[in-house]
Amino acid sequence: MEIDPFIFRLSIFILSIFIGYYVVWSVTPSLHTPLMSVTNAISSVIIVGAIIAGLAGRSDNVFTVSNILGFLAISLAAVNIFGGFLVTQRMLQMYKKKKKDK
Protein backbone atom coordinates (compact mmCIF):
# COMPACT_ATOMS: atom_id res chain seq x y z
CA MET A 1 0.00 0.00 0.00
CA GLU A 2 1.18 3.46 -0.83
CA ILE A 3 1.77 6.00 1.92
CA ASP A 4 -0.33 9.11 1.74
CA PRO A 5 1.87 12.19 1.07
CA PHE A 6 0.09 13.81 3.99
CA ILE A 7 2.04 11.51 6.31
CA PHE A 8 5.30 12.82 4.89
CA ARG A 9 4.22 16.38 5.47
CA LEU A 10 3.13 15.49 8.97
CA SER A 11 6.56 13.99 9.62
CA ILE A 12 8.23 17.18 8.40
CA PHE A 13 5.95 19.17 10.65
CA ILE A 14 6.63 17.13 13.78
CA LEU A 15 10.38 17.06 13.21
CA SER A 16 10.40 20.80 12.60
CA ILE A 17 8.70 21.34 15.94
CA PHE A 18 11.58 19.48 17.56
CA ILE A 19 14.14 21.52 15.64
CA GLY A 20 12.32 24.68 16.67
CA TYR A 21 12.30 23.54 20.27
CA TYR A 22 16.06 23.04 20.47
CA VAL A 23 16.99 26.03 18.34
CA VAL A 24 14.81 28.43 20.30
CA TRP A 25 16.07 27.24 23.68
CA SER A 26 19.56 28.12 22.53
CA VAL A 27 18.55 31.70 21.75
CA THR A 28 20.08 34.03 24.30
CA PRO A 29 17.40 35.78 26.41
CA SER A 30 18.70 39.21 25.53
CA LEU A 31 17.71 38.56 21.92
CA HIS A 32 14.14 37.48 22.64
CA THR A 33 12.65 40.62 21.14
CA PRO A 34 14.51 40.22 17.83
CA LEU A 35 13.50 36.54 17.95
CA MET A 36 9.85 37.58 18.01
CA SER A 37 10.22 40.04 15.18
CA VAL A 38 12.16 37.62 13.00
CA THR A 39 9.74 34.74 13.61
CA ASN A 40 7.04 37.18 12.66
CA ALA A 41 8.84 37.97 9.43
CA ILE A 42 9.43 34.35 8.47
CA SER A 43 5.89 33.26 9.27
CA SER A 44 4.87 35.71 6.56
CA VAL A 45 6.17 33.15 4.09
CA ILE A 46 2.42 32.57 3.94
CA ILE A 47 2.78 35.08 1.10
CA VAL A 48 3.47 32.11 -1.21
CA GLY A 49 -0.15 31.07 -0.73
CA ALA A 50 -1.28 34.63 -1.32
CA ILE A 51 0.69 34.85 -4.57
CA ILE A 52 -0.85 31.60 -5.83
CA ALA A 53 -4.28 32.96 -4.92
CA GLY A 54 -3.56 36.27 -6.61
CA LEU A 55 -2.31 34.72 -9.84
CA ALA A 56 -5.04 32.11 -10.07
CA GLY A 57 -7.84 32.18 -12.57
CA ARG A 58 -8.09 33.37 -16.14
CA SER A 59 -6.41 36.52 -17.37
CA ASP A 60 -9.61 38.14 -18.65
CA ASN A 61 -10.98 38.38 -15.14
CA VAL A 62 -8.43 39.13 -12.44
CA PHE A 63 -10.91 40.60 -10.01
CA THR A 64 -12.70 37.56 -8.64
CA VAL A 65 -13.19 37.61 -4.87
CA SER A 66 -10.57 34.93 -4.55
CA ASN A 67 -8.02 37.01 -6.48
CA ILE A 68 -8.74 40.17 -4.53
CA LEU A 69 -8.30 38.32 -1.22
CA GLY A 70 -5.01 37.07 -2.59
CA PHE A 71 -3.89 40.62 -3.43
CA LEU A 72 -4.85 41.86 0.05
CA ALA A 73 -3.06 38.96 1.70
CA ILE A 74 0.01 39.74 -0.41
CA SER A 75 0.21 43.30 0.83
CA LEU A 76 -0.42 42.31 4.46
CA ALA A 77 2.29 39.68 4.32
CA ALA A 78 4.62 42.07 2.51
CA VAL A 79 4.24 44.64 5.30
CA ASN A 80 5.33 41.90 7.68
CA ILE A 81 8.20 40.62 5.61
CA PHE A 82 9.79 43.98 4.96
CA GLY A 83 8.84 45.43 8.34
CA GLY A 84 9.85 42.32 10.25
CA PHE A 85 13.26 41.75 8.69
CA LEU A 86 14.21 45.42 8.64
CA VAL A 87 13.21 46.12 12.20
CA THR A 88 15.12 43.01 13.27
CA GLN A 89 18.12 44.26 11.36
CA ARG A 90 17.78 47.64 13.05
CA MET A 91 17.66 46.03 16.48
CA LEU A 92 20.56 43.67 15.84
CA GLN A 93 22.64 46.59 14.61
CA MET A 94 22.34 48.01 18.12
CA TYR A 95 23.80 44.83 19.60
CA LYS A 96 27.07 45.34 17.79
CA LYS A 97 30.03 44.97 20.08
CA LYS A 98 30.77 48.46 21.34
CA LYS A 99 34.27 49.66 21.98
CA LYS A 100 34.87 49.78 25.70
CA ASP A 101 34.48 53.24 27.18
CA LYS A 102 37.60 55.27 27.34
Partner: protein, 466 residues
Protein backbone atom coordinates in the same frame (compact mmCIF):
# COMPACT_ATOMS: atom_id res chain seq x y z
CA UNK B 1 9.34 24.86 -13.03
CA UNK B 2 8.56 21.29 -12.07
CA UNK B 3 6.76 20.60 -8.81
CA UNK B 4 9.66 18.51 -7.53
CA UNK B 5 12.22 21.21 -8.18
CA UNK B 6 10.15 23.89 -6.49
CA UNK B 7 9.58 21.58 -3.53
CA UNK B 8 13.35 21.31 -3.15
CA UNK B 9 13.70 25.07 -3.20
CA UNK B 10 10.97 25.40 -0.58
CA UNK B 11 12.92 22.94 1.54
CA UNK B 12 16.02 25.10 1.14
CA UNK B 13 14.18 28.19 2.29
CA UNK B 14 12.81 26.28 5.27
CA UNK B 15 16.38 25.27 6.07
CA UNK B 16 17.53 28.90 5.82
CA UNK B 17 14.78 29.93 8.24
CA UNK B 18 16.12 27.42 10.77
CA UNK B 19 19.56 29.01 10.36
CA UNK B 20 17.98 32.43 10.88
CA UNK B 21 16.77 31.40 14.32
CA UNK B 22 19.99 29.55 15.04
CA UNK B 23 21.91 32.77 14.46
CA UNK B 24 20.15 34.42 17.37
CA UNK B 25 22.05 32.25 19.85
CA UNK B 26 24.58 35.05 20.15
CA UNK B 27 24.63 38.71 19.15
CA UNK B 28 27.72 38.14 16.97
CA UNK B 29 26.03 35.63 14.68
CA UNK B 30 22.60 37.23 14.77
CA UNK B 31 22.99 39.59 11.83
CA UNK B 32 24.17 36.75 9.64
CA UNK B 33 21.11 34.82 10.78
CA UNK B 34 18.82 37.61 9.73
CA UNK B 35 20.48 37.61 6.33
CA UNK B 36 19.75 33.88 5.97
CA UNK B 37 16.14 34.62 6.82
CA UNK B 38 15.89 37.24 4.10
CA UNK B 39 17.56 34.90 1.62
CA UNK B 40 15.09 32.14 2.47
CA UNK B 41 12.21 34.50 1.90
CA UNK B 42 13.54 35.69 -1.45
CA UNK B 43 13.96 32.09 -2.60
CA UNK B 44 10.44 31.13 -1.50
CA UNK B 45 8.83 34.09 -3.27
CA UNK B 46 10.85 33.69 -6.47
CA UNK B 47 10.09 29.98 -6.68
CA UNK B 48 6.39 30.64 -6.22
CA UNK B 49 6.35 33.07 -9.13
CA UNK B 50 8.25 30.63 -11.33
CA UNK B 51 6.11 27.65 -10.43
CA UNK B 52 2.82 29.41 -11.17
CA UNK B 53 4.31 30.34 -14.51
CA UNK B 54 1.23 32.01 -15.96
CA UNK B 55 2.25 35.62 -16.26
CA UNK B 56 -1.20 36.99 -16.87
CA UNK B 57 -2.38 40.52 -16.23
CA UNK B 58 -2.85 39.45 -12.61
CA UNK B 59 0.93 39.52 -12.18
CA UNK B 60 0.92 43.32 -12.41
CA UNK B 61 -1.52 43.56 -9.54
CA UNK B 62 0.42 41.02 -7.52
CA UNK B 63 3.57 43.09 -7.92
CA UNK B 64 1.78 46.35 -7.13
CA UNK B 65 0.33 44.97 -3.89
CA UNK B 66 3.68 43.44 -2.99
CA UNK B 67 5.37 46.79 -3.50
CA UNK B 68 2.78 48.78 -1.58
CA UNK B 69 2.96 46.40 1.39
CA UNK B 70 6.74 46.39 1.20
CA UNK B 71 6.94 50.18 1.25
CA UNK B 72 4.57 50.43 4.20
CA UNK B 73 6.58 47.80 6.07
CA UNK B 74 9.88 49.53 5.32
CA UNK B 75 8.49 52.85 6.44
CA UNK B 76 7.22 51.39 9.72
CA UNK B 77 10.48 49.55 10.38
CA UNK B 78 12.54 52.73 10.18
CA UNK B 79 10.12 55.04 11.93
CA UNK B 80 9.09 52.94 14.91
CA UNK B 81 10.68 53.94 18.23
CA UNK B 82 12.25 51.03 20.13
CA UNK B 83 9.95 51.62 23.10
CA UNK B 84 6.98 50.79 20.85
CA UNK B 85 8.35 47.34 19.95
CA UNK B 86 5.63 45.37 21.82
CA UNK B 87 2.86 47.20 19.98
CA UNK B 88 4.64 46.72 16.69
CA UNK B 89 5.03 42.98 17.17
CA UNK B 90 1.40 42.64 18.25
CA UNK B 91 0.33 44.59 15.18
CA UNK B 92 2.46 42.41 12.92
CA UNK B 93 0.98 39.24 14.39
CA UNK B 94 -2.47 40.48 13.53
CA UNK B 95 -1.38 40.88 9.90
CA UNK B 96 -0.07 37.31 9.71
CA UNK B 97 -3.37 36.12 11.16
CA UNK B 98 -5.46 38.10 8.72
CA UNK B 99 -3.48 37.04 5.69
CA UNK B 100 -3.86 33.41 6.79
CA UNK B 101 -7.62 33.96 6.87
CA UNK B 102 -7.57 35.57 3.42
CA UNK B 103 -5.52 32.77 1.90
CA UNK B 104 -7.80 30.17 3.44
CA UNK B 105 -10.93 31.88 2.10
CA UNK B 106 -9.33 32.30 -1.28
CA UNK B 107 -8.46 28.61 -1.39
CA UNK B 108 -11.99 27.76 -0.31
CA UNK B 109 -13.54 29.83 -3.09
CA UNK B 110 -11.13 28.76 -5.78
CA UNK B 111 -9.82 25.30 -4.85
CA UNK B 112 -8.78 24.48 -8.42
CA UNK B 113 -5.95 26.98 -8.27
CA UNK B 114 -4.47 25.08 -5.34
CA UNK B 115 -5.24 21.56 -6.67
CA UNK B 116 -7.66 20.89 -3.85
CA UNK B 117 -10.67 19.75 -5.84
CA UNK B 118 -13.57 21.86 -7.05
CA UNK B 119 -15.94 24.19 -5.16
CA UNK B 120 -18.42 22.11 -3.20
CA UNK B 121 -16.18 19.10 -3.57
CA UNK B 122 -12.98 19.96 -1.76
CA UNK B 123 -10.79 17.14 -0.51
CA UNK B 124 -11.63 16.25 3.07
CA UNK B 125 -8.10 16.65 4.41
CA UNK B 126 -7.72 20.01 2.72
CA UNK B 127 -10.99 21.19 4.17
CA UNK B 128 -9.90 20.31 7.69
CA UNK B 129 -6.52 21.97 7.22
CA UNK B 130 -8.17 25.03 5.75
CA UNK B 131 -10.57 25.30 8.66
CA UNK B 132 -7.74 25.03 11.18
CA UNK B 133 -5.67 27.63 9.31
CA UNK B 134 -8.59 30.03 9.03
CA UNK B 135 -9.75 29.58 12.62
CA UNK B 136 -6.31 29.97 14.17
CA UNK B 137 -5.58 32.88 11.83
CA UNK B 138 -8.78 34.64 12.84
CA UNK B 139 -8.08 34.11 16.56
CA UNK B 140 -4.56 35.47 16.05
CA UNK B 141 -5.93 38.48 14.23
CA UNK B 142 -8.56 39.65 16.68
CA UNK B 143 -6.47 38.67 19.71
CA UNK B 144 -3.50 40.65 18.43
CA UNK B 145 -5.67 43.66 17.71
CA UNK B 146 -6.85 43.68 21.34
CA UNK B 147 -3.27 43.20 22.57
CA UNK B 148 -2.19 46.05 20.32
CA UNK B 149 -4.92 48.38 21.62
CA UNK B 150 -4.04 47.53 25.21
CA UNK B 151 -0.32 48.09 24.69
CA UNK B 152 -0.91 51.30 22.79
CA UNK B 153 -3.07 52.56 25.65
CA UNK B 154 -6.11 53.08 23.41
CA UNK B 155 -7.83 50.42 25.46
CA UNK B 156 -7.39 50.24 29.22
CA UNK B 157 -4.75 47.74 30.30
CA UNK B 158 -6.90 46.52 33.16
CA UNK B 159 -8.59 43.15 32.75
CA UNK B 160 -12.19 43.10 31.54
CA UNK B 161 -14.08 40.25 33.15
CA UNK B 162 -17.72 39.26 33.27
CA UNK B 163 -19.75 36.42 34.64
CA UNK B 164 -19.77 33.22 32.62
CA UNK B 165 -16.77 34.34 30.59
CA UNK B 166 -14.92 31.04 30.74
CA UNK B 167 -18.08 29.12 30.07
CA UNK B 168 -18.78 31.22 26.98
CA UNK B 169 -15.22 30.76 25.71
CA UNK B 170 -15.41 27.01 26.21
CA UNK B 171 -18.73 26.90 24.41
CA UNK B 172 -17.35 28.84 21.47
CA UNK B 173 -14.29 26.61 21.26
CA UNK B 174 -16.50 23.53 21.14
CA UNK B 175 -18.65 25.14 18.48
CA UNK B 176 -15.52 25.54 16.32
CA UNK B 177 -15.05 21.78 16.34
CA UNK B 178 -18.71 21.18 15.58
CA UNK B 179 -18.67 23.70 12.73
CA UNK B 180 -15.57 22.09 11.23
CA UNK B 181 -17.31 18.73 11.37
CA UNK B 182 -20.48 20.12 9.76
CA UNK B 183 -18.47 21.85 7.07
CA UNK B 184 -16.58 18.69 6.20
CA UNK B 185 -19.64 16.48 6.10
CA UNK B 186 -21.85 18.87 4.12
CA UNK B 187 -19.43 21.17 2.20
CA UNK B 188 -21.93 23.99 2.80
CA UNK B 189 -19.98 27.23 2.66
CA UNK B 190 -22.08 29.01 5.29
CA UNK B 191 -20.51 26.83 7.96
CA UNK B 192 -17.12 28.12 6.84
CA UNK B 193 -18.19 31.76 7.23
CA UNK B 194 -19.70 31.12 10.67
CA UNK B 195 -16.53 29.28 11.68
CA UNK B 196 -14.42 32.31 10.79
CA UNK B 197 -16.80 34.73 12.54
CA UNK B 198 -16.79 32.65 15.73
CA UNK B 199 -12.99 32.48 15.63
CA UNK B 200 -12.72 36.26 15.41
CA UNK B 201 -14.98 36.46 18.45
CA UNK B 202 -12.87 33.95 20.40
CA UNK B 203 -9.67 35.89 19.78
CA UNK B 204 -11.36 39.00 21.10
CA UNK B 205 -12.83 37.34 24.19
CA UNK B 206 -9.64 35.47 24.95
CA UNK B 207 -7.48 38.57 25.35
CA UNK B 208 -9.80 41.13 26.99
CA UNK B 209 -9.58 39.56 30.48
CA UNK B 210 -5.78 39.66 30.48
CA UNK B 211 -4.12 42.64 32.14
CA UNK B 212 -1.35 44.87 30.81
CA UNK B 213 1.58 43.35 32.66
CA UNK B 214 0.69 39.86 31.45
CA UNK B 215 1.24 41.06 27.90
CA UNK B 216 4.63 39.30 27.59
CA UNK B 217 2.76 35.99 27.80
CA UNK B 218 0.01 37.15 25.47
CA UNK B 219 2.38 38.38 22.79
CA UNK B 220 4.40 35.17 22.93
CA UNK B 221 1.21 33.14 22.75
CA UNK B 222 -0.06 35.05 19.74
CA UNK B 223 3.37 34.61 18.17
CA UNK B 224 2.89 30.90 18.59
CA UNK B 225 -0.65 31.02 17.15
CA UNK B 226 0.52 32.89 14.06
CA UNK B 227 2.95 30.02 13.51
CA UNK B 228 0.27 27.33 13.85
CA UNK B 229 -1.96 29.29 11.47
CA UNK B 230 0.86 29.38 8.92
CA UNK B 231 1.42 25.64 9.38
CA UNK B 232 -2.28 24.94 8.83
CA UNK B 233 -2.19 26.86 5.57
CA UNK B 234 1.07 25.08 4.72
CA UNK B 235 -0.70 21.72 4.90
CA UNK B 236 -3.48 23.02 2.69
CA UNK B 237 -1.04 24.28 0.09
CA UNK B 238 1.21 21.24 0.51
CA UNK B 239 4.09 23.64 0.93
CA UNK B 240 7.15 22.50 2.91
CA UNK B 241 8.52 25.98 3.54
CA UNK B 242 5.28 27.00 5.23
CA UNK B 243 5.03 23.80 7.25
CA UNK B 244 8.61 24.09 8.53
CA UNK B 245 8.25 27.79 9.29
CA UNK B 246 4.90 27.32 10.97
CA UNK B 247 6.35 24.63 13.23
CA UNK B 248 9.39 26.75 14.07
CA UNK B 249 7.38 29.85 14.88
CA UNK B 250 4.76 27.86 16.73
CA UNK B 251 7.26 26.22 19.03
CA UNK B 252 9.24 29.43 19.43
CA UNK B 253 6.19 31.30 20.69
CA UNK B 254 5.25 28.43 22.95
CA UNK B 255 8.71 28.36 24.55
CA UNK B 256 8.66 32.11 25.08
CA UNK B 257 5.24 31.89 26.75
CA UNK B 258 6.60 29.15 28.98
CA UNK B 259 9.65 31.23 29.95
CA UNK B 260 7.44 34.23 30.71
CA UNK B 261 5.03 32.20 32.83
CA UNK B 262 7.92 30.72 34.75
CA UNK B 263 9.25 34.22 35.33
CA UNK B 264 6.00 34.97 37.15
CA UNK B 265 5.65 31.54 38.76
CA UNK B 266 2.19 31.21 37.30
CA UNK B 267 0.73 28.49 35.17
CA UNK B 268 -0.13 29.19 31.57
CA UNK B 269 -3.82 28.67 32.29
CA UNK B 270 -3.72 31.06 35.20
CA UNK B 271 -2.51 33.78 32.84
CA UNK B 272 -4.86 32.88 30.01
CA UNK B 273 -7.94 32.76 32.20
CA UNK B 274 -7.01 36.31 33.12
CA UNK B 275 -8.38 38.70 35.69
CA UNK B 276 -5.07 38.84 37.59
CA UNK B 277 -4.59 42.10 39.50
CA UNK B 278 -8.22 43.12 39.17
CA UNK B 279 -9.66 41.46 42.25
CA UNK B 280 -6.84 42.16 44.64
CA UNK B 281 -6.80 45.89 44.08
CA UNK B 282 -9.70 46.47 46.46
CA UNK B 283 -8.12 44.44 49.24
CA UNK B 284 -4.93 46.46 49.23
CA UNK B 285 -6.70 49.80 49.43
CA UNK B 286 -8.64 48.76 52.52
CA UNK B 287 -5.76 48.15 54.86
CA UNK B 288 -3.76 51.07 53.65
CA UNK B 289 -2.02 52.34 56.75
CA UNK B 290 0.46 55.05 56.08
CA UNK B 291 3.82 53.55 56.76
CA UNK B 292 6.83 55.81 56.82
CA UNK B 293 9.19 55.73 53.88
CA UNK B 294 12.50 57.49 53.46
CA UNK B 295 12.16 60.15 50.88
CA UNK B 296 15.23 61.37 49.02
CA UNK B 297 16.23 63.65 46.19
CA UNK B 298 18.71 63.57 43.36
CA UNK B 299 21.46 65.01 45.53
CA UNK B 300 21.18 62.21 48.11
CA UNK B 301 21.14 59.62 45.36
CA UNK B 302 24.21 61.08 43.71
CA UNK B 303 26.02 61.15 47.05
CA UNK B 304 25.21 57.51 47.74
CA UNK B 305 26.32 56.35 44.32
CA UNK B 306 29.49 58.40 44.31
CA UNK B 307 30.61 56.65 47.46
CA UNK B 308 29.73 53.21 46.15
CA UNK B 309 32.15 50.89 44.45
CA UNK B 310 29.53 48.84 42.65
CA UNK B 311 26.04 49.69 41.46
CA UNK B 312 23.40 47.38 39.98
CA UNK B 313 20.68 48.92 37.83
CA UNK B 314 17.26 47.24 37.78
CA UNK B 315 15.17 48.57 34.90
CA UNK B 316 11.47 47.90 34.38
CA UNK B 317 8.52 48.93 32.28
CA UNK B 318 8.52 52.40 33.89
CA UNK B 319 11.85 53.09 32.22
CA UNK B 320 10.31 52.37 28.84
CA UNK B 321 7.31 54.59 29.58
CA UNK B 322 9.52 57.48 30.64
CA UNK B 323 11.92 56.83 27.72
CA UNK B 324 14.69 57.05 30.30
CA UNK B 325 17.16 54.59 28.73
CA UNK B 326 19.43 57.26 27.21
CA UNK B 327 19.44 59.37 30.37
CA UNK B 328 20.25 56.22 32.31
CA UNK B 329 23.19 55.43 30.06
CA UNK B 330 24.56 58.92 30.62
CA UNK B 331 24.29 58.50 34.34
CA UNK B 332 26.13 55.18 34.14
CA UNK B 333 28.86 56.76 32.01
CA UNK B 334 29.41 59.36 34.69
CA UNK B 335 29.56 56.66 37.34
CA UNK B 336 32.08 54.69 35.34
CA UNK B 337 34.31 57.73 35.04
CA UNK B 338 34.46 57.64 38.83
CA UNK B 339 35.64 54.01 38.68
CA UNK B 340 32.37 52.59 39.91
CA UNK B 341 31.44 49.18 38.61
CA UNK B 342 27.99 49.19 37.03
CA UNK B 343 25.93 46.23 35.86
CA UNK B 344 22.32 45.79 34.82
CA UNK B 345 19.94 43.15 36.18
CA UNK B 346 17.01 42.14 33.99
CA UNK B 347 14.06 40.15 35.24
CA UNK B 348 12.55 37.80 32.64
CA UNK B 349 9.18 39.59 32.70
CA UNK B 350 10.45 43.15 32.94
CA UNK B 351 8.69 45.22 30.31
CA UNK B 352 5.86 44.24 28.03
CA UNK B 353 7.48 41.58 25.87
CA UNK B 354 10.34 39.07 26.15
CA UNK B 355 13.68 40.86 25.94
CA UNK B 356 12.07 44.31 25.95
CA UNK B 357 14.57 45.84 28.40
CA UNK B 358 17.57 44.38 26.57
CA UNK B 359 16.57 46.07 23.35
CA UNK B 360 16.07 49.43 25.03
CA UNK B 361 19.46 49.22 26.72
CA UNK B 362 21.05 48.17 23.45
CA UNK B 363 19.43 51.18 21.82
CA UNK B 364 21.05 53.39 24.43
CA UNK B 365 24.44 51.83 23.53
CA UNK B 366 24.80 49.78 26.68
CA UNK B 367 27.26 46.95 25.85
CA UNK B 368 25.40 43.67 26.12
CA UNK B 369 28.09 42.10 28.30
CA UNK B 370 27.13 44.48 31.11
CA UNK B 371 23.55 43.24 31.07
CA UNK B 372 22.71 40.13 33.09
CA UNK B 373 19.73 37.84 33.53
CA UNK B 374 18.18 37.10 36.89
CA UNK B 375 20.04 33.83 37.61
CA UNK B 376 23.37 35.25 36.54
CA UNK B 377 23.32 38.28 38.78
CA UNK B 378 21.08 37.51 41.73
CA UNK B 379 23.96 36.52 44.01
CA UNK B 380 25.78 39.76 43.30
CA UNK B 381 23.24 41.95 45.07
CA UNK B 382 24.64 40.94 48.46
CA UNK B 383 28.04 42.33 47.49
CA UNK B 384 26.81 45.47 45.74
CA UNK B 385 26.64 48.86 47.40
CA UNK B 386 23.71 50.41 45.61
CA UNK B 387 20.77 48.99 43.68
CA UNK B 388 19.14 51.53 41.42
CA UNK B 389 15.58 50.41 40.66
CA UNK B 390 14.11 52.37 37.81
CA UNK B 391 10.57 51.65 36.73
CA UNK B 392 10.42 48.12 38.14
CA UNK B 393 8.29 47.13 41.11
CA UNK B 394 6.77 43.68 41.59
CA UNK B 395 9.90 41.92 40.32
CA UNK B 396 11.83 43.27 43.31
CA UNK B 397 9.23 42.58 45.99
CA UNK B 398 10.74 40.40 48.75
CA UNK B 399 7.20 39.34 49.73
CA UNK B 400 7.42 36.79 46.94
CA UNK B 401 9.97 34.93 49.05
CA UNK B 402 8.46 35.40 52.49
CA UNK B 403 4.67 35.55 52.44
CA UNK B 404 2.83 32.44 51.20
CA UNK B 405 -0.43 34.43 51.25
CA UNK B 406 0.80 36.88 48.66
CA UNK B 407 -0.49 36.51 45.09
CA UNK B 408 3.07 36.72 43.81
CA UNK B 409 4.48 34.18 46.30
CA UNK B 410 7.02 31.92 44.63
CA UNK B 411 7.71 34.26 41.77
CA UNK B 412 11.47 34.55 41.22
CA UNK B 413 12.48 38.07 42.24
CA UNK B 414 15.67 40.07 42.15
CA UNK B 415 17.29 40.11 45.62
CA UNK B 416 17.50 43.87 45.62
CA UNK B 417 17.01 44.17 49.38
CA UNK B 418 20.37 42.49 50.01
CA UNK B 419 22.19 45.53 48.71
CA UNK B 420 23.68 47.95 51.21
CA UNK B 421 21.30 50.61 49.97
CA UNK B 422 18.46 50.71 47.51
CA UNK B 423 17.42 53.68 45.40
CA UNK B 424 13.89 53.34 44.11
CA UNK B 425 12.77 55.70 41.36
CA UNK B 426 9.01 55.76 41.19
CA UNK B 427 6.33 58.29 40.46
CA UNK B 428 4.22 57.54 43.53
CA UNK B 429 3.81 55.00 46.28
CA UNK B 430 1.02 53.22 44.42
CA UNK B 431 1.23 49.45 44.32
CA UNK B 432 2.42 47.71 41.19
CA UNK B 433 0.55 45.56 38.76
CA UNK B 434 -0.14 42.74 41.19
CA UNK B 435 -1.93 45.26 43.42
CA UNK B 436 0.24 44.56 46.43
CA UNK B 437 2.49 46.75 48.49
CA UNK B 438 6.21 46.39 47.97
CA UNK B 439 7.92 45.67 51.30
CA UNK B 440 11.06 47.16 49.87
CA UNK B 441 9.65 50.70 50.11
CA UNK B 442 9.65 50.58 53.90
CA UNK B 443 13.08 49.09 54.53
CA UNK B 444 15.63 51.15 56.39
CA UNK B 445 18.14 51.00 53.61
CA UNK B 446 15.69 52.09 50.91
CA UNK B 447 15.60 55.63 49.66
CA UNK B 448 12.55 56.52 47.60
CA UNK B 449 13.02 58.98 44.77
CA UNK B 450 9.59 60.21 43.76
CA UNK B 451 9.88 61.65 40.27
CA UNK B 452 9.63 60.89 36.61
CA UNK B 453 12.32 58.32 35.83
CA UNK B 454 13.95 60.35 33.08
CA UNK B 455 13.93 63.63 34.99
CA UNK B 456 15.35 62.02 38.12
CA UNK B 457 18.12 60.25 36.23
CA UNK B 458 19.15 63.48 34.52
CA UNK B 459 19.18 65.32 37.86
CA UNK B 460 21.35 62.64 39.42
CA UNK B 461 23.79 62.91 36.54
CA UNK B 462 24.02 66.68 37.06
CA UNK B 463 24.70 66.16 40.74
CA UNK B 464 27.30 63.50 40.02
CA UNK B 465 29.18 65.86 37.76
CA UNK B 466 29.33 68.61 40.37
Amino acid sequence: MSANLSAIFYLISGFLFILALRGLSSPETSRQGNFFGILGMVIAITVTFLSVGSFSIGLIYVLIFLLVGGLIGTFIAYKIPMTAMPELVAGFHSLVGLSAVFVAISAFLNPEAFNLGSPGDIKLASLIEMSIGAAVGAITFSGSIIAFLKLQGIMSGSPITFKGQHFLNALLLISIIILTYLLCSSQISNFFWILIAVSFLIGFLLIIPIGGADMPVVISMLNSYSGWAAAGIGFTLENTALIITGALVGSSGAILSYIMCKGMNRSFFNVILGGFGATKQSASTENKEQRPVKNGNAEDAAFLMKNASSVIIVPGYGMAVAQAQHALREMVDTLKKNDIKVTYAIHPVAGRMPGHMNVLLAEANVPYDEVFELEEINNDFANADVAFVIGANDVTNPVAKTDPQSPIYGMPVLDVEKCKSVLFVKRSLSPGYAGIDNELFYKDNTLMLFADAKKMTEDITKNLKN
